[in-house]
């Protein structure tokens, strides 16, 4: 017999990754009573993520809309990080020293030249560096690095610290984080209701589906509203250095294979990441780690001396066009904040603003909102 819950918040957020928690925090700060449901908050893709906020150095042909979203969210990060640290008393290791993208082989350098032309065409700021200039910035880079590209505006943050800070900030605002799974969307008398895995029914005016790669698993979604989100596996490792090894985020291409190293204030170095279409498989494999180490060692030979602290595989929520799904759906009261693929950490402040920000946005936000409208996949699944 399902119990009728005393919980009936204004906003119920399904999913406690960086997207769900940021959205809940924004909603709560707008004075809306908010509840989050997640069996293990912050333990999904956010737990694996490196936390690069690098729309410029990660830009790809055909993905200018994603670039525009990324730039809009990157601009929100300084304030987001400062407010979050103040509200939670937690530091999030937000750093703005820029991303250095380096090339290893001659073919990699040609690809970097191509990227520079593309960045120029898009009017994005960057500096072109020789191999020696790269090594003056980052002396631990291998002498064989041929050249690089510095995106000074790109930044990074520690997603695990952001999650901890968001949970603390939510706690201070009295937002409840229910550590259970949402099983099914059920018709409610007023607003929308969700049945949790223990049978409890929670009714809310607005429900935000922010369950990452699992967003398609919620039962009871009307046909056509199921988000076409698939898991994209990423293996990533965390090393620890007794002395600072790198001052920038370093991304490189080694014989066509991309790898990145993200240094943290506490000596941690994050090394990532594979991209695999393996369903809900989260096994860490020998081959996955080997590829990361193989490429990282070419770029920064010293990495092999570091202590290995953590290896993990996470599941990014990928959509067919790599853009997130943010906003209202055809079902009144149901909102989506999912499908952020590789950009969940970067896009968290923007996502929260698009869903629960002040209505008085700048002109640009209308275009951003329509680029990630959940409606665009109507009839896709």
């Amino acid at each position: 017999m399902p119990s009728i819950s005393p919980r009936s918040p204004d906003v119920l957020v399904l999913g406690g990754g960086i997207i769900g928690l940021s959205t809940a925090w924004r909603a709560a700060r707008q004075g809306l009573t908010t509840t989050v449901v997640d069996p293990a908050p912050g333990r999904g893709a956010t737990h694996a993520a490196a936390g690069m906020l690098a729309p410029v150095s990660e830009v790809t042909y055909t993905e200018e809309p994603l670039l525009r979203l990324g730039l809009a969210s990157l601009a929100r990060w300084p304030e987001f990080a400062a407010e979050l640290e103040a509200a939670s008393g937690h530091e999030v290791d937000y750093r703005t020293d820029g991303m250095l993208d380096v090339a290893f082989g001659p073919d990699d350098l040609t690809a970097l030249d191509d990227l520079a032309v593309f960045l120029d065409k898009l009017g994005l700021p960057f500096e072109r560096l020789t191999g020696r200039e790269c090594r003056r910035l980052e002396p631990m880079l291998a002498p064989s690095v041929r050249g690089g590209l510095l995106a000074r505006g790109d930044a990074w943050v520690d997603p695990r610290r952001v999650t901890a800070a968001l949970l603390a900030a939510l706690d201070r605002l009295g937002v409840e984080v229910v550590r259970r799974s949402a099983a099914e969307l059920v018709p409610g008398e007023s607003g929308r209701s969700v049945r949790l895995d223990d049978g409890e029914i929670v009714t809310a005016e607005r429900i935000v589906l922010a369950a990452g790669a699992w967003s398609g698993a919620l039962q009871g979604l009307p046909p056509g509203l199921m988000p076409p989100v698939r898991p994209v596996k990423g293996q990533i490792m965390r090393l620890r250095s007794p002395a600072p090894l790198l001052g920038h985020c370093v991304r490189g291409t080694v014989h066509g294979s991309p790898v990145y190293l993200v240094p943290r204030g506490d000596g941690e170095i994050v090394l990532g990441a594979t991209q695999e279409e393996m369903g809900f498989d989260t096994r860490v494999t020998a081959g996955g780690l080997w590829e990361l180490l193989r490429d990282a060692r070419e770029l920064v030979p010293g990495v092999t001396e570091l202590e290995m602290c953590d290896v993990v595989a996470g599941l990014r929520p990928g959509t067919p066009d790599n853009l997130p799904m943010i906003g209202r759906t055809a079902l009144p009261g149901l909102l989506m904040a999912t499908g952020h693929h590789r950009g969940g950490v970067l896009l968290a402040p923007l996502t929260a603003d698009l869903l629960f920000g002040d209505p008085l946005f700048g002109d640009g936000d209308g275009a951003l909102a329509s680029a990630c409208s959940p409606d665009r996949f109507k009839g896709y699944v």
């Binding site: 790809t60 042909y61 055909t62 993905e63 593309f118 398609g216 076409p228 989100v229 698939r230 898991p231 014989h255 066509g256 695999e276 279409e277 393996m278 369903g279 809900f280 498989d281 990928g318 067919p320 066009d321 790599n322």
Partner: protein
């Protein structure tokens, strides 16, 4: 255009696509549609065929036949195992056999490839082996029962075009199974040249998926393959050292 027939199966498109390197599934989908392909190869080692929302769903939705491949295998043993898993998962005995010799060049290992081909043919597979541009090996693989041979134009992803057109012609001359030019295509003229040399089809991926505008390049490749095929069927004029007036004044 005349039909391509591989192992008794007919295709009206002579452009076979690969899926690697596309920035997103949507971009891939648009490119596949623009290419007009009816057969597309998918790397089974980097994919769980049971996972929903993958590239296989895109192919199913577009009614494109899936050609599983064994990319990433370094031994005949791995390749045979991968082919069997693919057959089980996808229900097709077709396999593009790819056994790589080293990761820098990604050139095919002829000995492992031949070994795997023999075993897969004996096991009832329709085997399409990826090989170097070696006429002798192509002939031996045909004798071993392969349904087609797939010589490279240049290393995978290099975009260097057809480095040894003469060898491709020799393979075409001797073959009685389809010859599919696989790997090395950089732009449309490369694909047209492959067809003019007498190849029965062209397989490409990177040239489209990593182009600045993949959908547009896919259309270009479709046109190039058709143009090259028609030129081959039409029969080109011999090359001459000096001019010959196209409208002679007198006989």
């Amino acid at each position: 255009m005349d039909e391509l027939v591989i192992a008794g199966e007919k295709f009206s498109s002579r452009l076979i696509m690969g899926t690697g390197g596309a920035p997103s599934l949507e971009v891939l989908d648009q490119a596949l549609v623009a290419s007009g392909t009816e057969l597309t190869t998918v790397a089974m080692r980097r994919l769980d065929p049971g996972a929903p929302g993958s590239v296989l769903d895109v192919l199913r939705r577009r009614d494109i036949k899936v050609l599983p491949n064994t990319a990433g295998c370094y031994t005949a043993g791995e390749a045979v195992l991968t082919a069997r898993l693919a057959r089980e998962a996808l229900g097709t005995p077709w396999v593009k056999l790819e056994v790589i010799a080293d990761e820098r060049t990604l050139l095919p290992d002829p000995i492992e490839t031949f070994d795997a081909a023999e075993r897969l043919v004996a096991d009832g597979f329709v085997v399409l082996p990826y090989i170097g541009d070696d006429p002798a090996l192509a002939r031996r693989l045909e004798q071993a029962g392969c349904a087609a041979v797939m010589p490279l134009g240049a290393p995978i992803g290099s975009g260097l075009g057809i480095r040894n057109p003469h060898n491709i012609e020799l393979i075409v001359e001797a073959a009685s199974v389809p010859v599919i030019l696989d790997a090395g295509i950089g732009t449309a003229s490369d694909a047209a040249l492959a067809m003019e040399l007498g190849c029965d089809a062209v397989l490409l991926a990177t040239a489209v998926t990593r182009a600045q505008r993949p959908e547009v390049m896919a259309s270009a490749m479709r046109g190039a393959v058709e143009a090259g095929r028609l030129a081959r069927l039409a029969g080109r004029i011999p090359k001459r050292r000096y001019a010959e007036a196209s409208s002679p004044m007198s006989k």
